[in-house]
Amino acid sequence: MHMADALVAPAVAGTMYAASAIAAGYSIKKVHLEADPKKVPVMGVMGAFVFAAQMINFTIPGTGSSGHLCGGMLLTALLGPYAAFLTMIGVLLIQCLMFADGGLLALGCNVWNMAFYGCFLGYFLVWRPMMKKTTSRGKIIAASIIGSVVTLQLGAFSVSIETLFSGITDLPFSVFAGTMQPIHLAIGLVEGLITAAVLVFVYEARPEMLYRANVAGKREKFSFKKTLGVLAVVMLLIGGGLSLFASSHPDGLEWSIERITGSTELDAAKKSVYNTAESVQETTALLPDYQFKGSESGLGTSFSGIIGSCVVLVVCAGVCYIISTTRKKKSA
């Protein structure tokens, strides 16, 4: 998600530098108020730790591909939002200088997109409310996944907005954002799982290291299946509930087609192949236009959200199974 210098206009870069500088100034003040003399050396070494951990490849189960750690949510759970934010600035600056990952001018944007959301929103909206009363393994996993997904989504959306205001691409905003958000949903999920695994280990080994977490209570027996079950129910509720509010306006690609052709449907290509494909789709579609056939009720939209989520999960699992089976056969 690192923005390059070439992708930002000076005005956007300046604005984001100012916003990040305000957050950094406030963080420095807060770190001073915490009056913990060990804080700065710990921040320095933790920054180096994040740097090293980012280089480790984590195999994603069932896919054969690998993911990486970004570290914003992990740092905020260990150091608190202010120290974590300052640590991430150091990591991003060194990444930009030593490895050309990001850019000097775009540093303000990158700090905002990757450090601000992960450290501040991840802490104040997710970590602190969830750890306020008691801390448990299930809560740590849920907070890590929710925090990482939400903050990466916000970061990806900020990248789209910054690119739009910089005016360097003619790609419509909705298409750009529509591509960025799903990609970062997957990245956020992997980031959340890695963060959860590390924080659960810390909770087991040295629970006092977790920032402002109430670890005095009795530790419950951890059930990974139970936590995944709860997350699955949340996903279904979101898929079913939020789709009721799904926009009836054309989506990004439809909108861009509408701009060019004046209609959201491609009517110029009504040839034999198109007609055949359309008739096959109409016959086989379980929920055409996200409704029951012949129904206008919101129930259909909601139901289609749930069915859609399940179908996507089944297709994902199926494709992953096929890929992993093929790989195993090839390597055998």
């Binding site: 070494v45 490895f99 691409t169 790609l171």
Partner: protein, 263 residues
């Protein structure tokens, strides 16, 4: 070479290059930092159709690479991260911006093609400028320049410490990974079951190391800020370097003779 050891050697190599005895390396770090940021700002502020202006901006890296005897080959490797992203963003411009600007034989060159090429060159030039800074200035000197710009000591000290311990922790992470791979051969990465323990162990070791670092710093009289003993103030040649580049860059941006495609 693994990613971890590759990163370790990259940092080591850059440190070696930045400490060479060359005139560019001796220019005051604050001046080089200001010129680099100014150059990048001017490059990205050029109009997306100003192809001639952006080509002229290549003068800065050419002069610095040739006169500073900095390896151009090393800098090319650094484009591998940024350039694909820039290309992905720019590649759609020819599809959406189809106004024909001029014809080369039977081929029509559209404004979308010009903006795409301009964006790619901007991506290359900005990366090269950052490389020139880090290839001629150590992180310690850049941190010194940041302190001169009144960036708070907490932030600068933390950046410096992060940089100093990156090599140590990269080595440690590499040792852990080698031990893991020797016990789990033919694995592409770290398996799901050991995500927590593997990175967690590295984390706990890092925290223990941080405490040891803190204690040793306190024993050596650390009171919240590092002090730089051998840093000099800007001299006449530093000011000359600064003023000369600012004048040249502003001339390329604003003199009408250089503005062909501005719109």
């Amino acid at each position: 070479m693994s990613k971890l050891s590759g990163a370790y050697y990259e940092i080591d190599h850059m440190n070696m290059v930045a400490t060479r005895d060359q005139w560019v390396n001796k220019i005051h770090p604050l001046v080089k930092l200001v010129v680099t940021v100014f150059y990048i700002a001017v490059v990205v502020s050029l109009s997306k159709y100003n192809l001639s202006g952006i080509l002229l901006m290549g003068a800065y890296p050419i002069v610095m690479f040739m006169l500073g005897e900095v390896s151009f080959k090393d800098s090319i490797r650094r484009l591998r991260i940024i350039l694909p992203l820039v290309c992905v963003v720019g590649i759609f411009n020819p599809f959406f911006d189809r106004q024909v600007v001029f014809n080369v034989g039977s081929i029509s060159v559209t404004s979308g093609v010009i903006s795409m090429v301009t964006l790619m060159i901007k991506g290359i030039l900005t990366v090269l400028a950052s490389y020139l800074l880090i290839a001629t200035t150590t992180i310690e000197k850049i941190c010194y320049a940041l302190r001169q710009l009144h960036i708070p000591a907490v932030l600068v000290t933390q950046i410096l410490l992060t940089y100093r311990y990156i090599s140590v922790l990269l080595k440690e992470a590499n040792t852990i990974m080698q031990a893991y791979l020797l016990r789990a051969p033919n694995q592409k990465g770290v398996q799901f079951k050991v995500w927590g323990p593997l990175v967690g162990q590295l984390l706990l070791r890092s925290i223990d190391r941080a405490n040891a670092v803190y204690e040793s710093m306190m024993l050596r009289g650390y009171r919240g800020e590092f002090h730089y003993s051998n840093m000099e103030h800007c001299s006449g040649k530093d000011y000359l370097f600064l003023v000369a580049w600012i004048v040249v860059l502003l001339a390329i941006k604003y003199l009408p003779v250089f503005m062909y495609f501005n719109s």
